[in-house]
Symmetry: C2
Subunit: 416 residues, 2 copies
């Protein structure tokens, strides 16, 4: 048992020592091994076409048209059913993606380097709200936006970030927590801070006034711009924690819209999965729970590092947005998550809770003992392909994942 | 009495109906009547050179050199003592200025139009933190920055704002209250929101890449950039409330570093003054209370409209910065100010207080009855000219101002 405590202390120590820096935007195929033609990285644990939910299928067909692998969505669907595409989780490729999480070779990906440990992680650029590919959107508007991200914003951000020498994220997130962000369903503060850091370099390196103005307007018009950066940061922080013998700290939580998977440090890269749950939340006008797809996306990496639902106390405004109740309820979510975590993050603190550090390092033993499953703030996709976001809510990680993981972990330390 | 309630309801109704929009940046001398050679607008109620505090004198001599009215600070001081300059309050010229509040003919001023009532107000561009003229700084670095604001940023912002058609401020401030700002000592959220709104137009209208990059870096590097906009907004909101017979709502609170003055709607433009008090606060390294100048600036216009100290509950992080205590203390400041105000602002609400509206419309009767003086979050200047900011703190408006005003108000309604 003392060995487990030591291993968990090491795990959280590595999380707190991390130094994530946004350094570049590059073409995914240039940096992700094996990301070639007809390879599609998706959110969550491994899944086959036959088991994919509606919005995931919608995104798959859309990205196939975007990559010119199929002439139409219908053709792409037939190809997918016939096994023409190779599907792999983002998490197997140092990457993460929100909701459906499509990552393919020609897309631009942001690069976060963890300068303490030297590892890098990748995430696509956030598309904005509404009808977007991460929520299963796949029409011309969606694909045109992806082309603009590939041809205009991505390259411009890459040049600008190289000009800056990189934007450190740890202190930026610390400021965001004082600005009502929890970095999952609310990123308005950090998105503004990122624009403040990036805009001068974008201007300095721009060779295209119209493109520059469009880029600044796109970033400035997207309250969730920072989400994908927070996710790449989360992946960069957690990857060095993946292989500590005897540690029962969760290193990833992720969902593909059908199954929810977790990974635990001491059991390496094995996924422990269970069916995803349905978020409880609020719906946009014209939509109800009957339209909703269950929980989806790699974005739960932010809860894995103590943000999102774990940092709800920092974001009373998001509690209303996701239907989680009052400011006191928001604070309680954060305090409750403190019961299933190894420690607090002294650098990421919440002024409204008198500078309580966010709960850090989910201990699967504590989850099973207390019966308190990790709380997640999430967007809600329409269950049909091609529609988009219909709401936002709160969902729990399935307890079955933690129970399976605990059995395997016990075996790994010779207890079972 | 019922007539007074009706008049106060009218006053607060005008405050809530206001529609302040940042529309332009122009040269002060072009828009402010009588702002000619050797005329200096300053913060607070009227004051002569002989009575001015150190930082106000420092700023006066600095601005005289900036305007080429004097070759040196020493020469400017002799000219000031000899009566070479005409001193007038900003408040007498539809203007406001933070701390020393220097406004002179060649400086760029931001223009806020209250589109509900058609009036306009003016404020210079915030210089950033540290050694700056508003805190009494007057050396070459300070004057060079003022020249850059005049020659580069001011004109660029003017063109960009005209391109946007104006940036509405009411909704922007509403968002800022969900981001931990109280718009006096903390403007980090609103400053980011303003950059998001302004940057695309700055890029679109720019003819100078280096100047654009400098401008974006200056705005992005200044957490208090929005303060001066909030102040011009406050003036634009309150000016239409200045002349309501029978209303005892405060229309301005302001200080020149020597005296504190208030104006009340029913008594028109008369100032009720008392000696300024000393802020209780926290000092930057190397400075103590002995270095501090008493309370100064027109920035208390933000408390007059329910922000600043009145909205402390929205900004638990600022409570620590100004030495005002815990998150619970911050909430208490806001709740307590509710005891001296006519109502709440339903559009400016605080998520951490379950969407309580900020306390709005200071009633001088309630101030005197309860003994609760308005609370103000303020920066603290060094008492000597030429040094700059040394800390930040909380200060109260002097009760004597309200007592005098109440006597005059009673006379005005035929009670005394």
């Amino acid at each position: 048992m003392e060995q487990i405590e030591q291993a968990n202390t090491e795990a959280v120590g590595r999380m707190l020592a991390a130094d994530p820096v946004l350094i570049d935007v590059v073409t995914a195929g240039d940096v992700i091994d094996g990301l070639g033609e007809r390879v599609i990285l998706h959110a969550g644990p491994p899944i086959d076409w036959a088991d994919m939910c509606g919005p995931m299928r919608g995104a798959i067909t859309g990205i196939a048209v975007f990559e010119d692998w199929a002439p139409t969505l219908e053709a792409a669907e037939e190809m997918a059913a016939a096994g023409a595409f190779e599907f792999r989780p983002n998490h197997h490729a140092s990457a993460v993606g929100p909701m459906t999480g499509m990552t393919t070779l020609s897309q631009p990906v942001m690069v976060v380097e963890n300068r303490k440990f030297g590892n890098r992680s990748y995430c696509t650029i956030n598309e904005g709200l509404g009808k977007v590919m991460r929520f299963g959107g796949n029409d011309a508007e969606v694909l045109d936006r992806l082309r603009w991200l590939r041809d205009v914003l991505g390259p411009a951000m890459g040049v600008a970030l190289r000009e800056t020498g990189g934007i450190p994220l740890k202190s930026l997130v610390a400021r965001g927590l004082t600005m009502g962000d929890e970095m999952h369903q609310r990123n308005v503060g950090c998105s503004g801070l990122m624009l403040r850091a990036l805009a001068p370099a974008l201007a300095k390196t721009s060779t295209d006034t119209a493109g520059l103005s469009e880029s600044l307007a796109f970033i400035g018009g997207n309250d969730q711009f920072f989400l994908n950066i927070a996710m790449a940061m989360g992946k960069a922080i957690m990857d060095p924690v993946r292989d500590i013998d005897g540690s029962c700290v969760v290193t990833a939580m992720s969902r593909n819209g059908t199954t929810f998977g977790i990974r635990v440090s001491g059991t390496g890269d094995r996924w422990f999965t269970a069916p995803v749950e349905m978020p409880q939340g609020l719906y946009f006008p014209g939509f109800t729970e009957e339209d909703a797809n269950p929980d989806m996306g790699d974005s739960t990496i932010v809860e894995t590092i103590g943000l999102g639902g774990f940092a709800m106390g920092a974001a009373p405004a998001v509690a209303g947005f996701v239907g989680a109740g009052t400011a006191a309820d928001a604070a309680n979510y954060t305090r409750t998550m403190g019961e299933i975590t190894v420690g607090e993050n002294p650098e990421w603190t919440i002024p409204a809770l008198d500078y309580l550090g966010v709960p850090t390092g989910i201990d699967i033993r504590l989850v099973v003992e207390t019966g308190l499953a990790p709380v997640i703030n999430t967007g809600i996709a329409h269950r049909e392909p091609g529609v988009g976001q219909v709401g936002a809510g709160v969902v729990r990680a399935p307890m079955a994942c933690f129970e399976q993981a605990l059995v395997a972990f016990a075996e790994s330390v010779g207890v079972a």
